[in-house]
């Protein structure tokens, strides 16, 4: 397990730069992080992007998210969706 993780870290060395949280992404865990009743575990990148796009163009109802989604560009939404689905806000274990 540790060897695989080490390989992962080495292979991920350039990926680290690419996997840095995109603009706006770290805010999301305030509401959607571990402990939340609204976790995004199991949401795919497409799920998240579709939801955010729907909030942004008014085709998806929400109590709060429509007001936030309109503050982000489509590119920003795409990047955040990718990051959350791939690695953001996973429950930490220690």
């Amino acid at each position: 397990m540790r060897k695989l993780l080490m390989i992962g870290l080495c292979l991920g060395a350039t990926a680290l730069q690419a996997q840095e949280p995109p603009i706006g992404a770290t805010t999301c865990s305030g509401c959607h992080g571990a402990g939340s009743a609204l976790p995004l575990e199991g949401w795919t990148e497409d799920d998240i992007r579709a939801a955010m796009s729907g909030y942004k163009d008014g085709t998806r109802a929400g109590t709060l998210m429509p007001r936030l989604a309109v503050g982000f560009s489509d590119d920003e939404i795409a990047a955040i969706s990718h990051w959350i689905a791939e690695e953001g806000m996973k429950d930490e274990s220690r």
Binding site: L5, A15, G24, T27, G88
Partner: protein
């Protein structure tokens, strides 16, 4: 590539960013590893310290108290439907690999030698210093409201013993009594907070002491989420809460703590219980460090939260003035995460990204009646600026189920943010 292997590699990269992932913090070269001292173990400081430790830096968190009681949801304790124990988080819980916790008071900052001195005598060297000291009450702002007055007219604007004192005064009050809440002018910690407090005290009084009244003597003509609060008060507590702005004689000129009397422009008000929320400023260490300006707040970069006044010192949370963003726990946590990435970039010789941040303030008018104000912020010319077409208030005249969902989401937010900051 199998799904498991891809997940392992992804989690290896994610270890760089997510604090405390199994396997430990990210491994940095000595050149890229920075030494950070964080002062203040609240929403901003605890979040920042944990994030920076997870990114692999050498982090020491200095916090005076062994436990932290959150201001968020403390109004629910006053409302009689939450317990202080549920809002209390031990400093020891903030522990994460790579993070050293020191329970002590910071007494001096020397930006030239880059050291922080503690009351116990230890001197901590730093490459970067992060101050997240919260607010101090200005006990020189309202004649008669000095530090001792808070023992008679609690502000309860720092949670814990002050909250308990206010709660006990409300419990002892007879039916038909007058509760006065006196909020300050902007800017101050938690703009909607006093009005949530009025709402939830009304919730408590409605079932226990229904002849009682609540009078808000405000230093402001308008307040955060005002239309939503007024609508809620009319629907939930008709006739119980009066808002009195300065134009109607609401401004408090002086107070007498021994008689719980408040002097206004239009005459004296005798309170059964008086909750005076005085003007505030950044926590004391900010003044010591030289990062506080004449407004009492700390002007900082909207990208790195570095002080405009003292290089090498960063300020986040209620104490900071980055251009925009209200003083809230949500803001402090959001700023802490942006700060951590910015410091990480600076230590690695990279350029910090121009950030976007969100703030959401949840308020409860009753246990199952919630609403929000939100803002999205971007960096313009080195300061944060609110994006005009984003954010805003929950709608007026919303169906009951929308109010109850936002109340549920408030509790969900609280669980998530306290887990992220305090491992709660």
């Amino acid at each position: 590539m199998s799904l498991d292997r891809r997940r392992l590699i992804a989690s290896g990269a994610a270890a760089a960013i997510a604090a405390g992932v199994a396997g430990g913090p990210r491994a940095l070269s000595a050149q890229d590893r920075g030494r950070v001292v964080v002062v203040g173990g609240g929403f901003g400081g605890a979040t920042a310290a944990r994030q920076l430790a997870g990114l692999g830096h050498d982090v020491t968190l200095v916090e005076r108290d062994p436990t932290y009681v959150t201001c968020p949801f403390s109004n629910a304790v006053l409302g009689g439907f939450d317990e202080m124990s549920a809002l209390t988080f031990p400093l020891a819980g903030v522990t994460t690999e790579g993070l050293r916790l020191v329970q002590d008071t910071a007494t001096d900052v020397d930006p030239a030698s880059k050291t922080l001195t503690l009351a116990g005598g230890e001197v901590l060297p730093w490459d970067r210093l992060v101050l997240s000291p919260g607010v101090d009450m200005r006990f020189d702002a309202i004649p008669g409201y000095d530090a001792a007055a808070a023992d008679e007219m609690p502000h309860a604007w720092k949670a814990g013993s002050q909250t308990a004192l206010l709660q006990s005064q409300l419990a002892a009050m007879e039916d038909g009594g007058l509760v006065v809440i006196a909020p300050p002018a902007n800017p101050f910690r938690c703009p909607p907070g006093p009005y949530e407090r009025a709402s939830l005290i009304a919730h408590y009084l409605s079932t226990t002491k229904p002849a009682s009244r609540i009078l808000i003597l405000d230093a402001k003509e308008t307040f955060s989420k005002q239309p939503l609060f007024l609508e809620a008060w009319d629907r939930l507590y008709p006739g119980m809460i009066e808002f009195r702005p300065p134009s109607l004689g609401g401004r408090v000129v002086s107070v007498d703590a021994t008689t719980r009397t408040l002097e206004t422009d239009f005459g004296d008000v005798a309170a059964s219980v008086a909750n005076v929320i005085p003007p505030q400023r950044a926590g004391a260490i900010a003044g010591v460090a030289g990062v506080m300006d004449e407004t009492g707040w700390c002007p900082v970069s909207g990208i790195t939260f570095e002080s405009d006044l003292v290089p090498g010192v960063h300020v986040i949370g209620d104490a900071c003035a980055p251009g925009a963003m209200p003083k809230s726990a949500f803001s402090a946590n959001a700023q802490a995460k942006v700060l951590a990435l910015a410091l990480d970039a600076m230590f690695r010789g990279a350029t910090p990204q121009s950030p976007k941040l969100v703030n959401v303030c949840y308020s409860l008018a009753a246990p199952d009646y919630g609403f929000t104000v939100a803002g999205v912020y971007r960096e313009v010319g080195g300061k944060l600026s609110e994006i005009e077409d984003a954010g805003g208030l929950s709608p007026l005249d919303a169906p009951v189920d929308v109010r109850s969902r936002e109340a549920d989401y408030a509790r969900s937010w609280y669980a998530a943010i306290t887990h992220e900051a305090f491992d709660g």
